[in-house]
């Protein structure tokens, strides 16, 4: 437990176990890491070293900013959890991992990070990062790169794919490049995310290859709300195939773009301006209106791929006549129960 205050960063080269992870927890979210750790140029660095994998480390609740390189960095450990942290105004990635199987990046806030298009607010990289979970993060206003990037990166070894990633319940907006840049990922699920107003030359979700190999394939993109007035809401490049795109809301003139064949889509509600759909599009409240055409526009499943059973806020799907499109299921108000009778007081 780290008390409130301002600290130099720290580097972790140790490991816990699945049942007994090592926890570094900030008290009351008031522990600020403002200078780099003594070894690397990062704020918090979890680094496997030789035969010492930094497995099962949890970092919880720190504020990391103004670092000369990355805010929070994790290399090579299994079962790492980074949660409830805020990482901003760092020169490189806000939160970064490389070859981290089963990493979980949960409920963090990352903004105004990076100095180049290769540096992002959150970046999960390399082929050993299978099973990554990126959930509940608020990701916005990257300086030059993407909001959230996953990259299997065949040049860095392994099979060159990140398999079975789960990217859900994130709010991603205003980033310089893409909202979600998903390079060489397979069999992942991207669901219940809100994505809007990302780079004018980039767009919302981009499923792509790396250098014309290791095409992203077999992913399910379902029940996301994407409002990208300048670029495609969902773009799948030529060669990436067998991706299933359904129950999404797409706002913008470019819409959902398949540059090649072999992908599948259904029950996506697309419009140019989103009028009549949302509580307050200008204020980015993408809850559905009572009479939104996206209500019950979705499907319970598509080509044996199931829609999520809850929405971004944990509300059950479906409500009303069927599954709604987008990240929010409209909360139908049920009739109240009967009033009690026979109240007596003695």
């Amino acid at each position: 437990m780290v008390g409130n205050g301002t600290y130099q960063g720290f580097m972790i080269q140790s490991h816990g176990s699945a049942g007994l992870p090592i926890l570094f927890k900030a008290q009351s979210n008031g522990a600020n890491i403002t200078t780099r750790n003594a070894t690397t140029s990062d704020g918090i660095n979890i680094e496997s070293w030789g035969d010492t994998p930094s497995d099962f480390i949890t970092v919880d609740g720190f504020n990391v900013y103004n670092q000369p390189r990355m805010g929070i960095r994790a290399i090579g450990g299994n079962g790492i959890v980074i949660k409830n942290c805020t990482s901003h105004n760092n020169s490189s990635n806000g939160i970064f991992s490389g070859d981290t199987p089963n990493i979980q990046v949960l409920n963090n806030t990352a903004y105004v990070n990076g100095s180049s298009s290769y540096e992002h607010n959150i970046y999960i990289s390399n082929a050993l990062s299978d099973g990554a979970i990126v959930r509940g993060n608020l990701v916005y206003n990257s300086n030059a790169g993407n909001g959230l990037q996953l990259n299997g990166d065949w040049e860095m070894g392994g099979d060159g794919f990140i398999d079975n990633a789960l990217i859900e319940n994130n709010i991603v907006y205003g980033n310089s490049k893409k909202g979600l840049s998903l390079i060489s990922i397979r069999f992942g699920r991207i669901q219940n995310n809100i994505i809007y107003n990302n780079g004018p030359a980039a767009g919302g979700i981009h499923l792509v290859d790396q250098g014309w190999q290791n095409f992203s394939t077999g992913n399910v993109v379902v029940n996301n709300t994407i409002d990208e007035p300048n670029q495609a809401s969902i773009r799948i490049n030529d060669g990436s195939d067998n991706n299933y795109i359904f129950n999404n809301i797409s706002v913008g003139t470019k819409g959902i773009v398949f540059e090649g064949g072999g992908n599948f889509q259904s029950n996506n509600y697309s419009s140019d301006d989103g009028s009549g759909q949302f509580v307050n599009r200008a204020g980015h409240d993408y809850h559905l209106l009572q009479n939104s055409p996206a209500k019950s526009f979705g499907a319970a499943s598509y080509l044996s791929k199931a829609a999520p059973s809850v929405d971004l806020e944990g509300n059950a799907r479906p409500q009303g006549a069927g599954f709604d499109a987008g990240a929010y299921e409209f909360a139908e108000v049920p009739l109240p129960p009967a009033a009690p009778t026979g109240l007596s007081v003695r």
Partner: protein, 280 residues
């Protein structure tokens, strides 16, 4: 420290609070009742029960006999109660409208007879007056319960015949329901139990002997109807005295009853006329 402790205890003793026991019929809903809420407020029966003086209690869970107790209620205020049921959908509680509203009024009660300071004896009719909403009244003498849960018109025949003469405190409590703790308390009325009255002087006596000794020639001493005087009387003065039993609280007239007399009764001088006395 001792002084402070005394203050605390005194203040505590002065704060009387009651507990209301609420019960209502269970609500059945196919979606599953997730719980009930009790709403109550002070000094107003106008819903909704919110704002100053209002309280809401969440009671999660279902029960075949839903009920709850609410303690710490001030008998100087009225309280209105209502209950709602609710279901839970997506972590939101969907709540019913109010049940019937039950208002527990401020209960007031006072002893209307006998009057404070009265001289009484025999069988005394003690009467109380209670405010609307009163189910029943308890009578107390010197703090000891005489008659529990007396229905209207709240009149109790208090038998003083076996009591020692002297001062007694009468009080009453008005109750909201048969088993309720909800009560209003009366002020205390002090009366004096006496045995005899001199008709001419209007003076009361705690014993017949005192009345005889103090009586002038030709005096009449009146005794309570239904009273039982247990004394050894010695009439040893050269005077004529009339001793009459069977008087009611009005003194006179004689109500046609009798007064019982136990012990010895000796006439040494003068004349004593006994009327409506039963010598036991």
């Amino acid at each position: 420290m001792v002084f402070a402790l005394v203050l605390v205890l005194t203040g505590w003793d002065a704060c009387y609070a009651y507990t209301a026991h609420l019960a209502w019929n269970t609500v059945v809903d196919a979606r599953g009742i997730a719980g009930y809420k009790v709403h109550y407020q002070m000094d107003s029966a106008v819903p909704p029960f919110n704002g100053t003086g209002a309280t809401e209690i969440d009671l999660p869970g279902q029960s075949p006999t839903p009920n709850t107790d609410i303690s710490g209620l001030d008998p100087a205020h009225s309280y209105s109660f209502a209950v709602t049921s609710y279901i839970t959908v997506n972590n939101f509680k969907i709540e019913s409208v109010y049940s019937n509203i039950v208002t527990v009024p401020v209960l007031t009660v006072s002893i209307t007879a006998p009057a404070a300071g009265s001289k009484v004896g025999g069988t005394v009719q003690v009467t109380a007056s209670a405010s609307a909403g009163t189910y029943a009244v308890d009578f107390f003498v010197n703090g000891i319960l005489q008659i529990p849960r007396l229905a209207p018109p709240y009149t109790h025949a208090w038998d003083t015949s076996t009591l020692d003469p002297g001062s007694y405190s009468l009080s009453a409590k008005a109750y909201y329901s048969p088993e309720s703790e909800i009560a209003g308390e009366s002020a205390t009325v002090s009366v004096t139990v006496v045995k005899a009255k001199n008709l001419e002087t209007g003076k009361y006596y705690e014993t017949l002997q005192q009345a005889y000794d103090d009586a002038s020639d030709g005096a009449t001493l009146m005794l309570w109807s239904s009273d039982h005087i247990v004394e050894n009387i010695l009439c040893g003065l050269p005077k004529n005295v009339n001793i009459k039993g069977g008087y009611d609280q009005g003194f006179p007239p004689n109500n046609g009853g009798y007064t019982a007399l136990s012990g010895s009764f000796t006439i040494g001088q003068g004349t004593v006329v006994l009327d409506r006395l039963v010598i036991l």
